[in-house]
Amino acid sequence: MKPLSRPTSLALVAAGLLVIGGCANSEPGTTNPGSAGSNGTGTAGNGSTGSAGSMGAGGTSAAGTGGSTSATGTGGSTSTGTAGNGSIGTGGSSATGTAGNGSTGTGGSSSTGTGGSSATGTAGNGSTGTAGRGGATGSAGRGGMTGTAGTTGMAGRGGTTGAAGRGGTTGTAGTTGTGGGSSPTGTGGAMTTTTPLDCGPNGYVVENHGPPANRVNYIILGDGFTTADNAAGGVFEKDIANSMLRRFSQNAFPYNRYRNFVNICGIKLVSTGAICASSTLGCCGDDSSRLANCNMTSVNAAYNALPKTLTIDWRAVMLNGSSWWNSGGTTMLYSGGNTDAPGAALHEGGHGFHQLADEYGTCTGGSCGTNTNGSGSTGTAYQEVNSCGNPKTTDGKWDLWIGYNATGATGVQSTFDGSRYVAVGAGQYRPSANSMMNSLFCGGNQANCTANTAYNQVSREQMVMSIWKRIHPIDSTEPAAGAVTSPGVLKVNVIDATVINVDWTVDSNPPMVNGGVTFDTSSLAAGSHTIKATAYDNAADDLVRYKTSTCPSSVTGSYCHRTAWKNSTQTVTWTFTK
C-alpha cells in the first residue's frame, strides 16, 4: 500500500516555522563589559573560574557586575541588570532583568524576566518568567521555576555555558557542559552538566536532559524514510517535531513538567523503499483494524545495535505514512504523517508505556455515558488503573480523585459509565467524560485540541509513577556522599530543581525544608556532623494523591505502578568532623 502525500502536516510545520521566524530578534540585548569570573559570595554560578564553553564565556557575578562579552563567546550575567550579549555566541543570564540575546547563538536566561530569543539559536530559560521563542532555525526555550514553556520548542538542552535554553530542531545541543544561573542572593546557581547524548551513528538527538542511566530514554525508530527524508529538516525530523509540539503542550501534561526526565532519540534508519513495500523494518498496517505492524526481528535488531550507553525504556517505531495505523504495545507503532499523529503517539504511549486502557465501550467521548457519581451496576475489577468495575469504590483506583475538577483539562473526575470496551450500563467506568485515552482528536489542527482531550487525573498520576519506576531524583552529589573531609559546600545534582525539592537536616535538628541544592557547612560549629539531603518530587495533590506506594487491593496480584512512588524520594548522607 502506498503512503499518501501529507500536505496538511507539512503545512502545519511550515506554519510553525513562520511563527518562530516572526519572533526572531524581537529583543535586542545590550553589551555590558565587565569582569569575567564568578563571584565568591556564594557558590559559583557559571563556571568555577568564570569561563566555560568551547568559545570562551563571560563569567557570572552575584553582586551585579555585568559579565563580559566575547565576540565569539558567551555573554555574561548579572544579578540585577541586563545580561550581556554575545554577538555570535550565547546570550547571558540575568537575575532580575531581561536576558540577553545571541544574534546567532543562544538566548540567555533570566530568573525573573523573559528568556531571550535568538535568530538562529535557542531561546533561554526564564526562571520565573516566560521562555522566549527560538529563532528561525532554532526552537523555543523552556520556562523556568514558575514560567511557561515556549510553545514551539523541543530538542536537547543547548548552550556551552550559561543557563542555556534547549537545543533547537536544527540547533545543536551543548557540547561542553551547561552552566547554571546565579541567584540574586548569591547562593549559587544550579550547575548541571549535560553531557552529549549518544543516540548512535544514525541517531538524532531530539531531547537531551542528562545521563541515560538516570533518565527515561525514549527511542523512536523511523521506517520507510529514504536518505532524502532523513536529511536535516526533512520529513523524519518534521514528523518528530510535529509530535513533540503536542507532547510538550499543556494538553499532554505532565510530560511538560517532567520534560527534563526523558531523553528522546530519533533513529534515522534509511529505507530504500516505502512502508508496505521494501522498508527496513518491514512495517505496514491494516485499514480494518487500524493496527500498524512491523517485522519485530528487524525492530529488535535495530534496537540491539544502538550504543550500549543507552538504556532503552520506551520503544516506538514511526512509520513514514499518513494512514491511521497505530499500535499500543511495548514497542508502540504510529504513522508519523497522519494529521493526528501527535495524538496517536500519546494515546498509544498510554497503552504501551503506561499500561492504560481505552476509556470507551460502545460509546465514546463526553457526550455519552453519563456521570454516575458513584452509583451503577458493578462489574469486574481489571488490572488497568483507569477503568473500574465498582463505581462506589472505584476498586481503590481513583477514590481520592472523585469530585476533583481538572479545570482546563478533563473536568470533573468521577465515574462515567462505559469504559474498556464494556457497554454503558454493563459495569465498567472511566474517570472522566473524555480524555486522551478516549476520543483524542483535534480536528486536524493540534492548536485546536479541546481541553478534554488531555489525560485525566488518573492517567496523569500513572504517568508520573511510570517515570519514577525507572529513575531517581539525584544524579550525583558533590562531594560523594559518605565520610568526607572539610567539605565546604555540599551539593546534590537533581534531575530538575523545579520539580525536585531538597530538604537538609543537620545532625538532629529539624530539617530545612526546600533548602535548595547546596548547603554551606562553613557556619557549622566545630565538632562531628551528619548532614542529610532528602530530594523528593514536589508534586502537589493536584497531580499525585496516592503516595503510600501500595497498590489497590482490588487489583489482581496487587501489582501496579503506584509502588514506584517510593523511588521519588532519595536521601544521601555526609559525615565529617570540623
Binding site: L4, T8, C284, G285, D286, D287, S288, S289, R290, L291, M296, T297, N300, A302, Y303, N304, A305, L306, T311, I312, D313, R315, S322, S323, N326, G329, T330, T331, T339, D340, A344, H347, H351, G352, Q355, D358, T362, C363, G366, S367, T380, Q383, E384, R420, Y421, A423, A426, N434, S439, F441, G443, G444, K469, C551, T556, G557, S558, Y559, C560, T563
Partner: protein, 188 residues
C-alpha cells in the same frame, strides 16, 4: 389420529425443537461475542488460550479493503485516511488489540512484582506470559527470568547470566532492571 393431524403434530414438534435449539445457542454466541470485554485482569487473563503468533508478522492484507466506519453504537471509528472531525473511536477492538493489551498487562504485572521484589510472583506471571506469547517479540521474557533469579539468589551465577543476557539484548526495555537487580548491587 388422522394423517393430516399427524402431520401437524410432527411439524409442531419440529418447530418447538428448532426454537429450543436457537434459544440454547444464543447465550453461547453472546458469551463468545462479549468475551473480550469480559477478560479479567492480567494474571487471570493469562489463562486465555490464544494461538501463538508467528515470529514474523503476516504479509500485508491484499484483499480489497472494506472499511468499518461505524460501530454498533453509531460512533464512527477514526477513518484510516484523512482527518477526524468530532468524536470518534480511535480504533475498533479486535482480537489483535486484545492480544496486544493482554501482553501489556503481563509486562505491567511482572514489573509490578519486580518492584516489590516478589520473585515468586514474577515467575508465576512469566510462566503464563511465555505460554501465551512464545514469540517474545519484545525480547523481555528471558530478561525477567534473569531478574527473578537475581532477586531470589543474588550472587555470581545470576550475575554472569545477566551479563550474557545483556550482551544479546541491548535494546530490551528490561535492560534497566537487569542492571538494577543483577549488576549494580554488586558494584556497591
Amino acid at each position: 389420529m388422522t394423517p393430516r393431524r399427524w402431520l401437524f403434530a410432527v411439524a409442531g414438534a419440529a418447530a418447538v425443537a428448532l426454537v429450543a435449539l436457537l434459544a440454547l445457542r444464543r447465550p453461547a454466541e453472546e458469551a463468545a461475542a462479549s468475551a473480550p470485554a469480559d477478560q479479567p485482569a492480567a494474571p487471570v487473563a493469562a489463562e486465555r488460550r490464544l494461538p501463538p503468533v508467528p515470529r514474523t508478522p503476516p504479509a500485508p492484507e491484499t484483499k480489497p479493503y472494506k472499511e468499518e466506519v461505524v460501530t454498533s453504537d453509531g460512533v464512527p471509528i477514526a477513518p484510516p485516511r484523512g482527518e477526524v472531525v468530532g468524536q470518534a473511536h480511535p480504533h475498533p477492538i479486535t482480537p489483535q488489540h486484545e492480544r496486544i493489551y493482554g501482553e501489556n498487562r503481563f509486562v505491567g504485572g511482572i514489573e509490578g512484582a519486580m518492584e516489590v521484589k516478589d520473585a515468586k510472583g514474577m515467575r508465576h506471571l512469566l510462566e503464563q506470559y511465555r505460554r501465551e506469547y512464545p514469540e517474545d517479540d519484545q525480547q523481555l521474557q528471558d530478561g525477567y527470568a534473569v531478574i527473578a533469579d537475581c532477586i531470589e539468589h543474588p550472587g555470581a551465577g545470576p550475575r554472569a547470566a545477566a551479563e550474557r543476557w545483556l550482551d544479546a539484548h541491548n535494546g530490551s526495555t528490561a535492560k534497566r532492571y537487569v542492571l538494577r537487580y543483577c549488576i549494580e548491587p554488586q558494584q556497591q
